[in-house]
Amino acid sequence: MSEDLREAAVRWPKGHQYEDFEPGQVFEHHWGRTVNEGDNSLFSSLTLSYNPLYFNAEFAREHGHDGLVVNPTLVFVTVFGLSVEDLSEAGGLFLGVDDLSFESPVHPGDTLTARSTVVDKRESDSRPESGIVTWHTEGFRQDGTRVIQFRRTNLVARRREGT
């Protein structure tokens, strides 16, 4: 009988917990993501995001762009997505976003990267097993231009004894 790897396996950890965050701490998030035309067209269609700038290249050219424009909401959720492992994967509800600004258009083929700074942390009165953390997240294009920035607030699980 073959070896059952589950018996000896050590869980490869992911994410951070409430105690890991300190105001001012900076996270350069992993991977980056090139946003391609398929991503943009599919996302815009699935979300009924009916502005032809996002799915009609000729229309976008007539508005001074080189081709399609990436749906700004996709820019937001992609930069958000890249930040999740560092910030919120370990569990806790996503509460809200404030002061989001779109600062430069993104075009298919552009590569997004993300960085976050811890703004604030506090304990939750109603949920002793969690704390509330706010981060300032910024998204950049390959040439270094900042394309988006926002503040996000989440519940974040506290470390349990023995973990």
């Binding site: 009924l48 995001s49 229309f59 959720v77 997505g81 809200g96 779109f102 926002f150």
Partner: protein, 161 residues
Amino acid sequence: MPGELFALTGSDNYFEDFQPGAVYEHARGKTVTEMDGVLICNMVMNTAQGHFNEDIMSRSPQGQRIVFGGVTIAMVIGLAMQDTGEQALAELALDQVRLRTPVFHGDTLYAYSKVLDVADADRPDAGVVSFLHQGYNQDGKLVFEGERRVLVKRRSHWGER
């Protein structure tokens, strides 16, 4: 491109059409399917398995996967987009975005918008419109609300172009 640009979009959603205080119900709702939620969550590299591991979530207090809040935001703003952003030259800002109730696969979302403010822009052919958007589920529970600022074409410059 053959034909006129303005023929590709609506004629009732230019800057001049938005008056502060006006409240709109957007005509279409959308059932957020597993395909929408998991596809978008994974496509944007969101690694939180509470959105895509049904086995783990079946043993959680919710009993099932929760739709990524970014998808909820995108879906409600999307439902409002034809009316409030089809004439947008640019999306400018979001603020005070709050997720009030979790969304699960199979929930149906409906979108409502209020015009908060209209203002001149730094270019003559467009103005800035501020909206409050709300999204409700099939049970009438508020799932999302947030403010959005958009740079919207003026009919005076774009209506016959």
